[in-house]
Structures are given as C-alpha cells and as structure tokens.
Symmetry: C2
Subunit: 322 residues, 2 copies
C-alpha cells in the first residue's frame, strides 16, 4: 500500500489505477490510502458534465481533453454509467472513442458503474476524485448521465457544471422539468448543426432571463464530433472558474464537500453499527409485523447503541427543535 | 392532530391533504401521525411510472386513473417533479390536465418537488405513500421524471414499475444507458403513432431477449392522448401483480421497504446528533485545514457520542470484516 501511495502522489498511472481499484471495491487498505492522499487534495479544478443520454457528452468530453492537453494540462475523467444487468457493469459503448488518449500519460479515464445502494455512487466518485486530485491532475471531469439525485450530488462537488442539451430531445419546459436549470453554470447545445438548435438556444435564453444570482449561465453551441465550438466552450469554463475563484466559491465548495463526506461516513457507520446489533433482525421483524414503526425502531437501536436519547424526544419533528 | 388522523383513516380528503402537508414540511406532530397510520398501511398496490421528460407520463397516468376509477378503485397519485428556481417548487405544467379528477373524491393527486438534501425525496415520498395507503387508496401511482438514484429508490418501493419510452428520444442502447432496463417490469412505448415506434419496440424486444429472471417485461404500445392501448397496459399491470403476489414478492418488498425506512431514520438521526455535538464546527474546520480526514472526523464524532468503537477499528474497510 505504501508503494501505491508513493507512486500515486508522483502521478504514476499504474499506482493510480491500483488505488482506484482499492477504493472502488472497498478493499483492505482503503482507509489508509484515503488518509494518506487527503492532504494532497483540493488542487484540481472539477468540471461536471451532465445531460440526457444521446446528447453527446462523451464526445464533448473527448474534445475537451484534447484541448486541455494541448494547453499542457493533465486531465482525469470519471465517466459514470448506469449499471445494467445486460452488460454486467458499466456500458463502455462510446467511451471507446476516448481510447485515443490511452497512450497519453497525462490523461486518466475511468468508467464507474452506478451502485444501487444509498449514496453509493456519490461516495465512490468523491473517493476517486480525491485519488486523481492527489495524483496531480490539473482538471478532473466527471461525466454523468441523467438528472437524478446522484447527478445532483456529484454536480454539487464540481466547480463548474456544464449541462449538455441537444435539439430534438424536447423543448425548454422539458429541460426545466428535467431539473437541470438549477445546476447549470454553462449550457452546451451540442449537435448544433441539427434542426431546432436555434430554437433551443432561444428557449434556454428566455428561461435564463428569469434567473437571478451573480452568475448568469452562458450558452455555447457545439458540434463536438466536428470539433466546433469546443474552444469557446472551454473559454467559457475558464471564465466561470475566474468567477468562482474571485467569489471564493471554490473554498466554500471544498468546505461543504468535506462536510458532506463526513456525513456520509456517519450515515454508513450508523447503519453498519445498527445491523451489527444483536436485536436488529427481531426489530425488523417487529416493524414488519407492524408492532412498531420504523422511526420507533430507529430510536430503539440508538438506545441500544448507548446514544444519549435527547434526539429521541424530538426525533422526526424538525420543526419542534426550531 | 387526532382529528386529522381520524379523518385520514376514514379517507377524508381534507384530513389527508392536511396530513401530507404536516409530513412534507416536517411540522410538529409528524411523528405521532406516522406512528398512528403505520398499522393501517401495506394494503395499497404501488405502481411506479418513470421515463424521460416528454414521454407523456402524466397523460398516461391520467388515463390509467380514469380506467381504475371505472373499475371502482380509489387512486392516489404522487407526481414527483424536480424543483426549479424558476417555478419556486414543483412545476405543475401538464399536471393541470389531471384536474378533471379534481372533483372525484376517489382520486387524490399530489405534486412533490424534489429535495436537494440527501435521500430527502425518497423519504418524503415514502411518508406520503403511507398516508395515501392508510387513507384507503386501492392503488397508488408514483410518477417520477428521470432515472437517477431517487427514481431507483422510489421504484424499489413500487410493486410494478412501468417505464415509459417514446420513439425519437433515442435508440435501445441509449435506453440501456439511461439505466431503466433493470427497473422495468413493463414497458409502455407511448406516442406509438409516431415514426420509429416499431423500431423501438423491436430494439426493446431484442434487449429483453437477453434478460434472465422469472419475469419477462411486457411491451405495450400506447397513444395515451387518444386513450389507445391503456386497457391493455392496465391488464399487463394486473398480470404482473398476480406474478408478484404469487411469488410473495409483495411481502419481500414490504420487508425491504421497512428496513430501508429504518436505515433512513438512523442516518438522519446520526447526522442531527453529530451536528449537535459541541465539537462539530471545529472538527469540520480541522478537516478543512486537512489536519484530519473526513473518515477520522466521523470516527471522532462517534467516540464523542459514546458509541462503542468496535466499528472504528475497521471503519471504511468492509473487506476486512468479511
């Protein structure tokens, strides 16, 4: 493990790959590893790229990598794919086209399957971000499919979030419905050579006109497969980075990330502890038989774990605590 | 509160509405309310309806309600919409067309905004399902947008999950990418009068041919706005219900739902308890200064809360515990 850690902080690709495997699979040494790298984190710039399936996110990411490499920046990419029983894991699909970077030591790409357990994906992603960060990557891109809670969680971590839209997948109301308006720092209307691109841009613009806040998201038209608009998009990302850094938002974000991580460990820990309690199974059975509510069950477990029961008096009623 | 509870279990609409408001807004009395209704739950059949924005889920739900009402069944609907800073909450949009049911006492429809806090949506949805269930609704439909973790969590609760697809939003590979294959019990290819419907059905069918498992998802073609295919779809849902009940999956699901709820209360509780600890803020600061990792911080908080530290020895390394 010491060797892996030493190699990783020097940016060694094989050490990095080994470290990610340890973290992803919850292998022994994970704790030691994350502890060792933590002081080396917080230096990379994190870009989130999200949008519906078929929007061309992978192609866009691919072109951004090329451009970032031309500028001498090292890049880490985490591509988050939903798991599928048909593929037995992440669907690699069009990731393959990213393989042009496979021989470039300055680029590290990792596909991650979504996990079905609570908060699993976000947590594993954060851990891998830490590893890429500690390995000295200048920019880390997290590419996610969809617009669910997992995406929102991952996006919260990113300094700049690019929402990729594409003409023909629906109008602006549907975009709003998809819940992406509030997470976008920048919009990329990809496949902009298709019919309806201008209409989509206009719809987005009129929705953004209603937006309040210090940052007004920019809209960029791209045709990723032809390399069109990528340089402008990256310039837009840099502009947002300047805004973020001037406003001190990167520091705020690091602090809230740290808190979120802390809470995740607390939550994982308490569930593990509860399930290890001798009375856990019979308690679940009692709830199943409706002799007890889930909340009462939780209270009982807290008691068994010897936690002071001040919370129990008000549990479930946030309003009473003011 | 007693009056609300009494009215609710009798199926009184106004009591139900008040109870939902209490639960959604974490008002005082929530705990008492959920405790009182819990023994009355577990009777409703839960249908999850999910799919991309623009697939026509609301229209489909609307038509299913009409049909269920004709069969004399009472229906509860929870429409989960992403919140938007532009709407200040759930976007009602096409829910409005569901208002034809507004005067029908046998139908109760509620829109819920997604919450940004961890697990918030799934938890609030479960609570509202309990209320609708206790109020005697025969069928509860949960309609969700998107395919993220929240959706997966909600879908896990449902007895039958209908995934609504629509021609022109992408091919079968994209469907697989969207992560919906593993959650679908039934597919509805809506707007089936559009070009590409047959192609989509064929693609779905060939993907399903690879599926293993005791239940093979059916595919139904619907044109919800013209009431086409709705009766067949509902018959398909009933068929799946029979399968679920014969296999005892409904009981298994109730048990796993109960456990999931229990864990959510544990997780919420531990975070509340930790944040109430005197040392919490300085501990976050120490992590922020990289003097301590988030995991070490969590361990320290567990210690402060007087939790036995057996977990601490192995924390973060699941593999070591075998």
């Amino acid at each position: 493990m010491t060797k892996i850690i030493e190699g990783l902080v020097k940016g060694n690709v094989r050490s990095l790959a080994k470290a990610i495997t340890v973290v992803e699979n919850d292998r022994p040494g994970k704790k030691e590893l994350l502890k060792a790298v933590f002081p080396q984190t917080g230096n990379a710039y994190l870009i989130g790229i999200t949008g519906p399936p078929g929007a061309g996110k992978s192609t866009l990411t691919d072109k951004l990598i090329t451009l970032l490499r031309q500028q001498g920046k090292t890049v880490g990419v985490i591509a988050v794919d939903p798991s599928s029983p048909f593929s037995g894991g992440a669907i690699l699909g069009d990731r393959i086209r990213m393989q042009q970077h496979a021989l470039d030591e300055g680029v590290f790409i990792r596909s991650m399957a979504t996990r079905s357990h609570l908060g699993g994906l976000a947590k594993a992603t954060v851990d891998v971000i830490h590893l890429l960060d500690a390995a000295g990557k200048d920019v880390i891109i997290v590419e996610t499919v969809g617009v669910g809670q997992d995406e929102v969680d991952i996006v919260k971590i990113a300094h700049t979030t690019v929402v990729v839209m594409v003409p023909g997948l629906g109008d602006a109301i549907q975009i709003a419905k998809a819940g992406v308006m509030e997470i976008a720092d920048i919009f990329a209307v990809n496949k902009a050579d298709r019919e309806g691109a201008d209409k989509l841009v206009n719809e987005l613009r009129s929705m953004l006109d209603m937006a309040t806040g210090d940052w007004k998201p920019d809209i960029f038209q791209t045709v990723a497969k032809n390399d069109q608009g990528i340089a402008d998009l990256l310039a837009g990302i840099y502009q947002h980075r300047e805004f973020v850094q001037n406003a001190g938002l990167d520091k705020e974000k690091f602090k809230s990330n740290v808190q979120r991580e802390l809470c995740t460990y607390l939550m994982d820990g308490i569930v593990e502890l509860a399930q290890a309690c001798a009375g856990y199974e019979s308690l679940v059975q009692a709830i199943y038989q409706k002799e007890m509510t889930p909340l009462e069950g939780a209270e009982k477990l807290f008691q068994e774990m010897g936690i002071n029961n001040e919370w129990l008096m008000v549990g479930g009623d946030n309003a009473e605590k003011g």
